[in-house]
Amino acid sequence: MAQETIAGKNVEVDQEGYLINPEEWTKEIAVEIAKDIGIELTDKHFEVIDYLREQHAQGTQLSIRKVGKSGITDIKELYKLFPGGPLKHSSKIAGIPKPSSCV
């Protein structure tokens, strides 16, 4: 666990840079983490991020399949939005813990 300053805000992150406290998340932080990964966020990205944060707050264990069935995006588009790590990158940007699902 470490302190890091992202978008001018001091937040707690784990070794891989995932936020420890989702409450500390802001849109500016999302933009900054996304930039670090190499993704420029659009409204569509934020729709997915909002969904992820909502589901995480409800205690749902997220999977690509769930996001694909959310009605917000399909799996193909999810891969396009977050290349190289559809669930990992989107979770990191959404300020929720690293997904622990194998699917």
């Binding site: 264990q61 399949r65 799996i75 891969y79 790590g85 990992k88 194998c102 699917v103």
Partner: protein, 168 residues
């Protein structure tokens, strides 16, 4: 590059599935899907009984073996007598139970799983030799299949740095 170990990350996995039981097919699908989820390229080659997983008629009907499977247990953990596994309907019942458990864990049916893998850029191939053996035609295969290849052609897909071939 992993900063601590100086290891270069895995770039591609080529997975060969030659068996048609739930556990063999799902091990293959989970590994292939897990790879594309991590940004690792995945190519899957289905051969012999593994072809069931991508044959339209069979892909929804794959079973686990209830006979000759020493790891088989009753719900609750007691050993599963082989003689029970021989009774009609038991294999289907046990397989249905396994699929139900998997669904609870968000593990999709075979066709949906294949779609997830190809949506992520993974590719699915069928073995030409096994297709000839089982008298199957391209039309018998799941529509998302990228092609029918000889093993030589498949090896041709397995080049590149940091590529691994996995046989399930």
């Amino acid at each position: 590059m992993n900063k601590e170990t100086n290891e270069k990350p895995l770039k591609k996995v080529c997975i060969i599935c030659a068996k048609g039981t739930i556990e063999d097919v799902y091990a293959t699908l989970v590994m292939a899907n897990g790879a594309v989820m991590e940004g690792i390229e995945a190519k899957v080659f289905f051969t012999f009984f593994g072809l069931d997983a991508i044959t339209r008629k069979q892909m929804k009907k794959i079973h686990t073996a209830t006979v000759g499977n020493p790891a088989m247990r009753m719900p609750g953990g007691l050993p599963f007598p082989s003689i029970l596994g021989m009774l009609p309907g038991v294999e289907a019942g046990v397989s249905a139970m396994m699929k139900q458990q998997m669904d609870k864990l968000d593990i999709p049916p075979v066709d949906e799983f294949l779609e997830m893998i190809t949506a992520g850029g993974g590719e699915i191939f069928a073995c030409k030799l096994a297709m000839d053996m089982f008298k199957l035609e391209k039309e018998d295969l799941w529509e998302g299949c990228s092609g029918v290849l000889t093993i030589g052609d498949f090896y041709g897909q397995c080049g590149g740095e940091n590529t691994q071939i996995i046989f399930t």
